[in-house]
Amino acid sequence: MIAVRRLSTIFARPITWIALLVAAVLVVLVAAPLAGLVAATVREDGGGSWADVLASSLSQNLFWQPLGNSLLVAIGTGLISTLLGGFLAWVVVMSDVPGRRIIGVLATIPFALPSFAIALAWESVFRNDRLGGNPGLLASLGVAVPDALSWGALPVTLTLVAHYYSLSFVVVAAALAGIGGDLIAAAELTGASRARVAARIALPAVAPALLSGFLLAFAEGISNFAVPALLGLPVRFQTLSTRLYGAISTGDTERGYVLAILLVLVAAVVLYLGNRATRGRSFAVITGKASRARTVRTGPWRWPLLAASLALVTATTIIPGLVLAVSTLLRRTNDLDGGFTLHFWIGASDPSIAQGFRGVLSDPVLLQAGMGTIALGASVALCAGALGLVAAYVVRRVRSNVVGAGIGFLAYVPFLIPGIALGAAFIAQFGAPIGPLPSLYGTFAILVVAGTAASLPFAFQTSRSALGQVSNELEEAALVAGAGTGRRIGRILLPLSARGVTGGAMLVFVTMVRDLSLVVLLVTPATPLLAVQTFRYTSEGFTQHANAITLVIAAVSVAATLLARRLQGARRPWTES
């Protein structure tokens, strides 16, 4: 009787229904593909792949050593990214350093550049003669560059940092902007030193954001394949991602899936540890009395801070961007000796160059592909943003730890499911008609569904960190005033966390327009996408064409970023100085 009554109270609360809905969506989008992954590893040969990976003579080189390398790279990427991203966010949001707006724009661009472009930039400076071919700048000046600087853990980690610190920047900048100036003013009035204000107010206030930034950079770092393959393999530096990709592409799919599941488990442990570190503490800084963020006067430090910030964004945005741009103008792939040409941008078909492929801007498919890409990016950003926000809200409100942790887990791991496996899972789920519903396969909708699943971590982590700042009191006050759940979300939580949520949606958009691995299994010629165009060119080794498309993608991403910032400004005028 009591149990029934308790149950009926639980189900009387709207949050229960929202939680169930979110859980159901996550089960379809994430848990089912994961379960499919697990099933595939035990179905065929009764789990022999598990034994191969974990307990055989191969384990050392197939799993343990790559695991060590992956952890080294991913933890390094997570920590340094968070440090650099947090630093830049502070400079841009809190300080009075000149030019901070431009720095703010430049700091979001590395994420829009493909990671291989940043790796190429690294190579163009630090490549030594180990591999042969054309050496980098230092080596051609006669400097003996050691292997450790050209290849392996160090360049892989730093390249990934250069790519992913944007994530921390976006999340932390949103969080810092949420700290009311009154909080800091009050602290200063009590005579607290600047360092004390930073340590006791600013840092705790952005702790959830720092954690979110770390978790995102960690997951991206551990699953990135392109960078360790390019800069690691020449010294046989293998990571779980190179092993995973290798197993799948050499036809041993099950072994690849086993590695993917182990990656998910590693991420789950990191997620658990991260959440434990921040559990049970309140990070709410947004109360009923919002005021404009206060600028910290940096005095004589402004110039060194400016120099450091500029050096950072130059090395990670301007140089890789330039390397990429120049590479599209080179007659010969990555080789200055052949001279320059605009052919790969605007040339007509010339059978003597690149098998007659015309320049990318002369290709009528480009515009269509560009529109398709933007439509996909925007749709996914909207869906993932909404789902991420609601999921984060549920995790915040729901009383059951199990439900909260489960949703948190499912919303974190989609990065780590290989795109090819996620794609295959969606074909299996949506390839045939489900009851009265027609098959989604071959439609735009399935791309949106799959994209939402794959990019959910950005939306969830940013929303979680943004909501974490909003004081419960606000919602409780609204509750007392009789506002329903939808009204509380729409009128209080959404406006107050808008900056974080749009930041997340922007990351989702950028990932979707740039990332190929997932959509290639689902896309049809009817929905041309820029990322698919890139593949068309790389498959035949037309690097300049591919890089030109990549640059177009980066331009689209940057435009979206700028637009998102404008929108943020419009939503929260009081945070703009």
């Binding site: 180990r130 050499t250 000796d337 498959s539």
Partner: protein, 382 residues
């Protein structure tokens, strides 16, 4: 004759399936015995269908599309570029879900295609009658192949104008070549795993070459099953440099102006980019026992093609016309360093003949059986 019977059997299975699952099958389509149609009748049916969808592992399919649509104006080719690995996964998943979207698959990575797609009934063979006579058995079954590609030892001809600096593969395991041999990691890319597997399958030739070079019979180390794998172990121990992509091998080996360039395993046909890219790639065709491997690109029908006649017509088209170069249909694949499978199409000029090249032609079935063990072996010698 035997071929016919086999064909009928595989054709009957999906036919029966479709008949069983459809309440009102379009009779004109189901009853067609494609094997008995004349070429003109096939064209007629294909034009009625009006469309054919193809998954291709190479973007050169765009050129094929143009040529095909010029030849058969009523039929629209819908081409999807998708790498072999992803294509295999996609075809298998679509087949399982019963939602095939392609009629034809043009795919490399033969060992995986055979085990994952052909053996599972996802892809079915179609060999156009008119080319049967000019194709060797291995290029007709289990799927028809239209051309062969290579992974062979290449060197820098600017640095070595008097010919290849290597005469015997075993030289690459000696100190002179330490850190000077480049290849894509066979644990990352299937075609390089096929190369490694072939070295193992050709263990006798490798043992013979060892003796020719060192003057004594090879002694295998403990745990090394054969002379081919011993070669790979010695090569890895000699600091062979692994990379992720064929283009990296080309640039490393081929870039002009190098004093002491490495040698490496890559595609012979990439030599055609020498002038464009500032490379000096040349094949070490005379190396003993063989410079590497030759492998097929295959064409197959999906199990239940929506456009069965147009699908067959496209495969027929991609096998080339009856001229000496295969005509416009074959032009995108008529590249020096690749080889047509048909013995009545002359190999492109500017490359040594397939015989002179002396590369091992892989047997995808045997490769498929052995490559898992070879991959595992390579994992132990990192």
């Amino acid at each position: 004759m035997q071929h016919r019977i086999r064909w009928a059997a595989v054709a009957a299975a999906p036919l029966a399936l479709v008949l069983a699952s459809c309440a009102a099958p379009a009779e004109s389509e189901e009853a067609i015995d494609f094997a008995s149609l004349s070429h003109e009748e096939l064209i007629e049916l294909a034009i009625e269908e009006g469309e054919v969808s193809v998954y291709a592992f190479t973007s050169r399919i765009a050129t094929v599309e143009e040529a095909f649509e010029a030849e058969y104006p009523g039929i629209d080719v819908v081409a999807t570029d998708i790498s072999s690995t992803e294509q295999i996964q996609r075809l298998a998943s679509e087949h399982a879900a019963g939602s095939a979207t392609a009629d034809v698959a043009y795919v490399s990575d033969a060992p995986v295609v055979i085990t994952e797609l052909v053996d599972e009934g996802v892809l079915l063979p179609y060999v156009p009658e008119r080319v049967t006579g000019s194709l060797a058995e291995e290029y007709r079954t289990p799927l028809v192949s239209n051309r062969l590609s290579t992974k062979v030892l290449m060197y820098n001809e600017q640095a070595h104008p008097d010919g290849a600096p290597v005469e015997n593969l075993w030289e690459l395991t000696e100190p002179a070549w330490a850190g000077e041999v480049v290849l894509v990691d066979p644990n990352v890319r299937g075609d390089y795993l096929d190369l490694a597997t072939e070295l193992s399958l050709q263990a006798d030739a490798m043992a013979e070459a060892y003796e020719a070079h060192f003057g004594e019979a090879i002694e295998l180390e403990d745990g090394v099953p054969d002379a081919g794998l011993q070669f790979l172990k010695d090569l890895y121990a000699n600091d062979a440099i692994l990379t992720d992509d064929t283009d990296n091998v080309n640039a490393a080996v081929g870039a002009t102006g190098q004093e002491d360039p490495p040698v490496g395993f890559t595609s012979y046909s990439d030599r055609r980019d020498n002038e464009d890219e500032g490379w000096a790639l040349q094949v070490a065709a005379d190396v003993v026992p063989s410079p590497g491997i030759v492998f097929p690109a295959m064409l197959g029908l999906t199990a239940e093609p929506a456009n069965p006649a147009a699908a067959r017509l496209l495969i027929d088209f991609m096998m080339g016309d009856d001229s000496e170069t295969g005509g416009s249909a074959f032009e995108p694949f008529y590249v020096a360093g690749d080889y047509p499978t048909r013995d009545d199409i002359a190999a492109p000029a500017d490359a040594v003949s397939l015989d002179e090249l002396g590369a091992w032609i892989i047997d995808p079935q045997r490769t498929a059986e052995a490559r898992g063990d070879v991959a595992d072996f390579l994992l132990t010698i990192q």
